[in-house]
């Protein structure tokens, strides 16, 4: 089954399932699948940032190894594998290009109650991310290019866009509300 087939149906994406297997079982086959899925895309991301091929590959390797090392921090109720890997990749790029290390928020301690919640939260997050993906896919080529440039482009010319505040709620429902609202904003863009 491809990740695309699962996304949007309120099911966990395949990469998210692989990352959970890496987290819980240190599953190397699952890690290999994560690599096959993300390494080509991460390579494209690093090349876009202007890195030569060899250096891009080194960074991709570091990103994947960091994912292996830090899988214990992955919370499927807060992020899908793609968002989590994106964060690691951006961290690595910024550390590469800047003099100072990228400042990061405090790690969130995962309590037992979070794990119990995980499945339901993760499914709801998966569904919302699917809707957001669909909304992004309906944008014009030009609008998508702006978003890609901002999130994946080189780190010197990113554009800051005006946005409004997020509604209140618990953190996980807020993430989904945030996703939902982003999706509505995207709809209005069209």
């Amino acid at each position: 089954m491809t990740p695309e087939m699962q996304d949007g149906g309120g099911e966990l994406s395949a990469p998210t399932i692989w990352l959970i297997a890496v987290r819980d079982d240190r599953d190397r086959v699952a890690f290999g699948r994560l690599f096959d899925h993300f390494a080509p895309r991460l390579t494209a991301m690093m090349l876009r940032a202007g890195l030569p091929r060899a250096q891009a590959e080194d960074l991709v390797q570091e990103v994947m190894l960091t994912a292996w090392q830090k899988a214990g921090q992955f919370d499927a109720g807060r992020a899908q594998a793609s968002a989590w890997i994106y964060r690691i990749a951006r961290n690595r790029q910024i550390d590469h290009f800047r003099r100072n290390r990228r400042p990061l928020p405090d790690a969130v301690e995962m309590g037992v109650e979070d794990r119990e919640d995980d499945a339901q939260q993760a499914l709801a997050l998966g569904q919302e991310t699917g809707h957001l993906r669909a909304a992004l896919a309906k944008l014009s080529e030009e609008q998508r290019a702006v978003i890609e440039q901002s999130f994946l482009g080189d780190l010197t010319h990113a554009e800051i866009r005006q946005r409004t505040g997020l509604p209140m709620g618990t953190i996980k429902s807020r993430i989904r509300l945030g996703l939902e609202r982003l999706r509505h904003e995207l709809k209005e863009l069209r």
Partner: protein, 216 residues
């Protein structure tokens, strides 16, 4: 326990942090605020979801660049010899991990600015500077204006000015040419994390010519 945050970070700055567009000094303040504010953290994670989708839809390299066999073998082989991840900076109240990282995991080394006000410069560069400021309870920070953007996060205590009251976790974003006189609330020292993209102009406390010396 999370503080009750009422003054948040403008969402475009959260997005700029997530995408990497924000200069270092402001990124320190955003990362510290995200540690204290679930609302803004959720916004950041929502933006990361967009980043994840953008990553997933990125076409893989073609032609010469398409072959991942060698890199795959190299990466999987490295799992066997991978050292444990370096320990990440941990928060030490009232300083979030991002501040502890800037401090090199040591307590701040305060320098007096006079009148009981102290500062610790965390980083200072052409793109901006970020510092800790400690203001005794009940004291006013001397009248000052800005040449650029100033972002101030309260870590301990509280201050007020004509724009409102700022307690732990609250962020004040002051734009160009705002003159303000923040006053610390009576009680413990008010400790703030402040980033600027231009030198502050203190009107009273430090003569202008000395600002270069104090880097304020």
């Amino acid at each position: 326990m999370m503080p009750q945050v009422t003054h948040h970070i403008p969402e475009e700055m959260v997005q700029a942090y997530v995408t990497g567009a924000l200069p270092h000094a402001f990124s320190v303040v955003v990362a510290a605020h995200l540690s204290l504010c679930d609302t803004c953290r959720a916004a950041a994670e929502a933006f990361e979801a967009v980043g994840g989708i953008a990553l997933e839809t990125l076409p893989a390299p073609t032609g010469d660049g398409a072959d991942m066999t060698e890199l795959r073998a190299r990466t999987l082989a490295a799992l066997d010899t991978l050292p444990d991840a370096a320990p990440e900076p941990r928060p030490v109240a009232p300083y979030p991990a991002a501040v502890m990282a800037e401090l090199g995991n040591r307590p701040p080394r305060w320098k007096s600015l006079g009148a009981g006000i102290r500062q610790t410069i965390l980083s200072h560069g052409p793109e901006g500077s970020v510092r800790l400021l400690s203001i005794p309870g009940g004291k006013a920070v001397p009248d000052h204006g800005h040449n650029g953007l100033e972002m101030t996060l309260v870590l301990q205590g509280a201050f007020s000015d004509h724009t409102g009251r700022y307690g732990p976790g609250d962020v004040q974003v002051a734009e160009t040419d705002i003159e303000h006189v923040p006053t610390a609330e009576p009680g413990p020292d008010c400790i703030c994390l402040a980033a600027t993209d231009a030198p502050l102009r203190f009107a009273a406390l430090v003569p202008r010519m000395l600002q270069g010396v104090f880097r304020i």
